[in-house]
Symmetry: C2
Subunit: 372 residues, 2 copies
Amino acid sequence: MDTVERTPVDLPGSDAEPAGTARDTAGGAPAHRRARARATASMADVARLAGVSSQTVSRVSNGYAGVTEETRRQVLAAMKELGYRPNSAARALKRGEFRTIGVITFTLSTTGNVRTLEAIATSAAHEGYAVTLLPVAVPTQDEVRGAFSRLEELAVDAVIVIMEVHLLDAATVTLPPHVQVVVVDSDAGDHYTVVDTDQAGGTRAAVQHLLGLGHRTVWHLGGPEGSFAAQRRTDAWHAALTEAGRVPPPLIRGDWSADSGYRAGLELAARDECTAVFAANDQMALGLLRALHERGRRVPEDVSVIGFDDIPEASSFLPPLTTVHQDFAEVGRLCVQAVLSKMRQDGPERGTTLVPTRLVRRASTAPPPETT
Amino acid sequence: MDTVERTPVDLPGSDAEPAGTARDTAGGAPAHRRARARATASMADVARLAGVSSQTVSRVSNGYAGVTEETRRQVLAAMKELGYRPNSAARALKRGEFRTIGVITFTLSTTGNVRTLEAIATSAAHEGYAVTLLPVAVPTQDEVRGAFSRLEELAVDAVIVIMEVHLLDAATVTLPPHVQVVVVDSDAGDHYTVVDTDQAGGTRAAVQHLLGLGHRTVWHLGGPEGSFAAQRRTDAWHAALTEAGRVPPPLIRGDWSADSGYRAGLELAARDECTAVFAANDQMALGLLRALHERGRRVPEDVSVIGFDDIPEASSFLPPLTTVHQDFAEVGRLCVQAVLSKMRQDGPERGTTLVPTRLVRRASTAPPPETT
DNA sequence: GTGGGTGATGTTTGCGTAAACATCGAGTGT
DNA sequence: ACACTCGATGTTTACGCAAACATCACCCAC
């Protein structure tokens, strides 16, 4: 049972623990005292060993000035011997901040969310902040409300929401007043601080690339209705075509999944006039490619396909996919920056920050077939 | 068996937030005091307003028995009026537990890790635990050590490691002694508690499927050297072939990426004797498919390809990929269960739990071409 | 009526830390 | 030499909560 597994440092005093796993209610002795004692060394223990006051330990621990090099060494030695590490609960209680950022996200099934989350976690760690994850299984108001009510008593100083904001608004959010919020994938820039990819710019680049190749117009396989990202890509596609004097074909909707792209592709393959398709993400583009292939429409000779995201696999599609690269890492990084500067009260309270995209040309786009 | 689903209260409304956003940086006054004052109402405030002792507030807050309905109502009213919410730092300090699980993971770029993480977060939330994410950017010992040293002072009760454990061992881990550890993707079952997919079983199913179709032998596109998952799939492939009396062809290694699969595919396409390939994951299978296609080797007519993971896109590959489905959600769920039961000291201290796989037959496998 | 429950509530205490304040000795300027 | 500053360190206190213990009113059995 209680073998001395871990063996961190040789904890001085961890010798005893005589089988009685704090379970003995019978003992008339001050059981509770022994039970919790010495779980971890506290500042006081270190202070005692080092022969200084606990305040000095605190100073060393926090790197404050005003400690002799000599004293400092002693304290550090004592810390090491005892395997001391500060108790973050106590620290948080005292300081009134937790150095933790909560991230609310609706599923991690999309590349974008995941990459953004990863960047957030990395940036946060770099700033000395931990990241607490709050997944929302299904995007119902109840679920979101649940996430927030958990959040309310969770120890976080700030929140980053990777999700549609209309849900957020709907869920009578009752955050502690000092907790800052930053949102991804939203157009709520007038209510919140928003960081997002420049959806419009990327879309424009994609459309113009296709038009530049000589296509009359560009079909669009859009994302699901609820998504702001999808909405903005669709809007930008429409605008870019209109500005260029082209007639936007009817919109086709998918749900981000490859399957939905496949279904849309079967439809599009039947239309000879369709020579170029802009898919709102790479997964749908993948399904699209499969459908076109099955129906004997060659890519890019007969139909050009362009995606959005630039997932790592995109370069291995058949054919390798031309797509709009999103810099998720930058989005995540900026989220953290934004939320931290809000906390320090030196950043903009709201507004939108856009991260530029980059068009990656591969083999899925080409000039349209000769029209006879 | 439900945990005592606390149900503190239904949360107080977020009415006011009275503009006082602490904006005065200029004031020469005792700034710090103002800053932290009145951030949140404490139990004492609620107690005062309700005309009871703070202990009674505590009892209400924690749903303990022994409070008159009348008193309870008063306390709840006071909570609501003050917008009270418990301070989790204080609670953690007092109770000695944080109700938080740390998850260490090396990049979120693989589907498996992400899905597992998601399941962990969901399960943990369900048990009333929060999840703190600790990403390790690069799998160097320094990085891992860094993650752990952050972890050391982080407020977690347990740790789940989704990573190669040899790195873990290498990084002189010094966790607080009471913190429990569970590991995914490892064979360190004799040192740690391990939860993992049944790599061997899945591999065996894949190999036997191909042999059953009539292939003489099965080539293997393995994962990178460092990975235990890769190692076990490779071992199982070798064993399955040997047991069946077949001669295992030389091993080809990739690095999980589609690109590496592509490179391997170019090599394999040149070998006419190769009629069946088992790729250690779906991404590499994707690259493989592309290479075979480019070299004019038809799948599945000339070469059968089988993958591992069953990523959502696999059904949209060209052709749709036969692959071994992993139940990542179950892995994540079991991780949480394992770590919690270790904390409650009623679970096995170590050992390995395997999650079964399922072979998903799609269109990338078929009997070998007629050998003339 | 007295002693002994029983349940509702109040009081004390301490978790580990760090801010605020106190102390103390050594140097500095005149 | 004296008052003074300044740097190093110690002492006190409070953060918000909940366990342990104390109190108090009430009811019941004998």
